[in-house]
Amino acid sequence: MLSTKTKIGLVFFPAFDWAIDPTHPEREERLLYTQDQVFEEGLFDIDGIEEFKPGLVTVHDIQRVHFCVPSVEAVTTESHLISAGGAKTIGQAVLDKKIERGFALVRPPGHHAMRVVHGARGFCNINIEAVMIEYLRQAYGVRKVAIVDTDCHHGDGTQDIYWHDPDTLFISIHQDGRTLYPGSGFAQEMGGPTAIGTTVNIPLPPKTGEAGIIQAVEEIVLPILDDFKPDLIVNSAGQDNHYTDPITNMNFTAQGYAKITSLLKPDIAVLEGGYSIEGALPYVNVGIVLAMAGLDYSKVVEPDNTPDKTYQPAEVTNWINSIKETTLNNWQNRENLRRQALKDNEFATRSRSIYYDTDNIGERQHETIKVCPDCAGTIKIASSSDLGKHILAVHIPLHACDVCKETGYSWFESADAGNYDQAMLQDRTEDQFLSKTL
């Protein structure tokens, strides 16, 4: 009888009755062949692998992370509550020590969902990792969290949510933004003034193969994780770096995914993208599960895997070496950069246009952060969308100082009907969410 080295938990929720639309990559069929492979392998029978039924997240769980416009109900379906709930179930099981590690094999995904949500972008409505992490911080007092996003697309939503949070290290390895949606994730994107350095972007050129991604993990991600010393490591385990993926251009493999899982040793992995539903997902998922459990995965090889398909050109290797230098320099220089940023201004602002490709909505944002030497700093976001909604969103961080907390409340209270339709306040210190229509 097979038994694991590490006791792991799985939530498998393929949402066989949910799709964005019938021919969309994010459709009912997506995890069908993965289910076939997982069942045929008998993974749930292995001693040391436990399957959990996903719970549902609550509206309040979502409001810890997001400002949903006009409400959580308006921008989510039950499927999102279950998908985030699956991640939460795994997180709870890990922190309750029922399992050592866990994998939420759920859909729909979440890593393109930003702090303000007007609709779906990049197939995502709510950020399932962030909803889980903030729940775990609230319920278990977890502080330092590292998120390693190995989806082929830049995890711009997760980056946005943790842009100003020095307690969350966000590392994204992805195909270069000049060649793929969402077009962001460059090395110089390093976080806001109070959290410079805890956002790390590792953009890789198209045709990066097994060697390149493993190199990025071994030589960039692992040293940074070692430095940061997180209490919890979360892997946004997108599977679209695979050589058969229809919407990306990388040359990664199931063996590679299993290998980086065994290197990263995430406490919690959460499925993100991956749309090669027959050629990749069945094998990649089995590989990840076996690697997490400490079982042999050497025979998990795609049937059509030949060297030409996973070949990494020499210029790609050179490029990765230079990215490595840049990101590691940035990381080592982060304290200086932060000191610089803190003394420059009392407030910092940024203005952005955000496009919701899935729902075809345009959003304009103006964000202000109180650059605080004592905490992560309170944030206010003025946001309006094509749908005509104009809101003010105020976020008081979990470990906010009294001054920042007061600032947050005064921003919220002084929001006026002339400028906004709705004001919302996320007070993480009190685990409280307030909303008022103006």
């Binding site: 076939d36 069942f39 045929e40 008998g42 279950i82 042999d296 025979k299 049937p303």
Partner: protein, 557 residues
Amino acid sequence: MIIGLDVGGTHTDVVLLGASGLVRELKVPTDQSNLFETVLTGLKRITENIPPESITRAVFSTTLTTNAVVQKKFPPVGIIVTAGPGIDPALFSIGDHYYTASGSVDHRGRELEPVNPVEIQKIAQELASQGVRYVGVISKFSVRNPAHELAIEAELKGKFEKVFLSHEISGHLNFPRRIATTYLNAAVYPIHKEFFSAVQQSLENRGFQFPIRILKPDGGTMNFAASIDYPGQTMLSGPAASVMGAISHADPNSESLVLDIGGTTTDMAILVNGVPLLDPTGIELAGFKTLIRAMHTRSIGLGGDSLVSITDGKLMIGPDRQGQAMAFGGSHPTPTDALAVLGKLPKGDREAAIRGIEPIAKALGLTVEAAAHRIFDEASKIILSAANEMIDQINSKPVYTVHELLEGYQVKPKEILVLGGPALFFADQLKTHTSMKVRVVPNWQVANAIGAAMARTTCEVTLFADTQLGRANAPEESFSEAIDKRFDDKKAVEMAFSLLKEKAIQMGAIEKNIEMELIENQQFNMVRGFFTTGKNIRIKVQVKPGLIKGNDLYSDR
């Protein structure tokens, strides 16, 4: 009339049923080392002075194959597997003659790598030279396409007494379980065949011509001919017999918890509207995880003869058993002794029972009567808490659609049906700890044998259709048919039902008795690029477990 015979751990219960009900009932002691004699004695006594032609059939539930598995008394069995991408098949090694060979099929049944006949011939030679006569063949995803198992079978032809192919044994995806299930079928085949051939021969010698049926752990029966091909399905039928015995007394419009309180164990199961709830995968026995369809049951080591002891000042009941109750000549106190102390047993040596309970009472600082009451009460609590755990486990089973997760069916029994030796005494005590109605099944001492006698034939069919590949397959039924692009789930369900009916009749069902139901119906559009290229359809249908109608006592063959 029908004979029902259920071999239990201590007693074998035998009944004779006629149109008006129970004609004769008796118990014979079970001799586990000679089940053949036990069965023959039971049959001889139940048929005494009964005209042979008035008996239409006999249904058996025995511990024969279960014991063989538990004791791992197996003949040499050869296993040949082919796998492909995934977990290394060497890790699933079972038995002393396990071979992995080349050949691979993917999740949709497409060939990735062919079988190598030369390699199989070599394995066959080795197996034969080692005296192996029974072989199991398992290829990964054979339930999607059995071609490789069939190709290997063709190579083995004429060289072995019996070859079992995994796709004929189960239609379920689960390669390691198919390996274990195929292995067990091959391993118990000779003992099963020999046993029932001998029973049949002995009946014929005495002028009885009636057909033999065997109870399966899902609460259904199969005829002797079918059991030769699926001998694994004779395992662990005991709990199913009891549950079938309780069915006719269950509330047909709600959920019931069935408790069979025996000497060594208490077995529990759930009825939903009078139909037993089945396990989603299959039985687990002696470390083997199988795909043998079974009722969802739980067995705990607590029965009338369980050992009562004090450990660290705490009262413990079971899970061990050290022979009989002291009231019946045993050497250790048991719940049965507690009953004797309380004066609830018509038979038995009450003085001996008191001697057994005394030290327990002393340790607990109670009178002997109070201690006896505590034991009895504690046993009831343990049983109920185990039942609640089982129900929680059923209700927390993962589901894979939003609809099921939100609207998911939750089991909540409203009544408890109790049977087995001490049923009568336990029923009252259980009442004090639960809000559920508690009832004792009539004929509670032989209800299991009645259940076996009254069980109808059950079976299941899995159909898989892929309109892009243009085929509908039900490998278990050796069925494969070309389909066109217009084929859909409605047609697939029709096809599955017609296969099911055919299968049920072949296994011994009476046509008008076949109550079929759809248990899984999934249809996915397969999209490649931006175009729908076909439909992927998965259907499961079954004849659910249930009882034959009264007038079928005579209409059967």
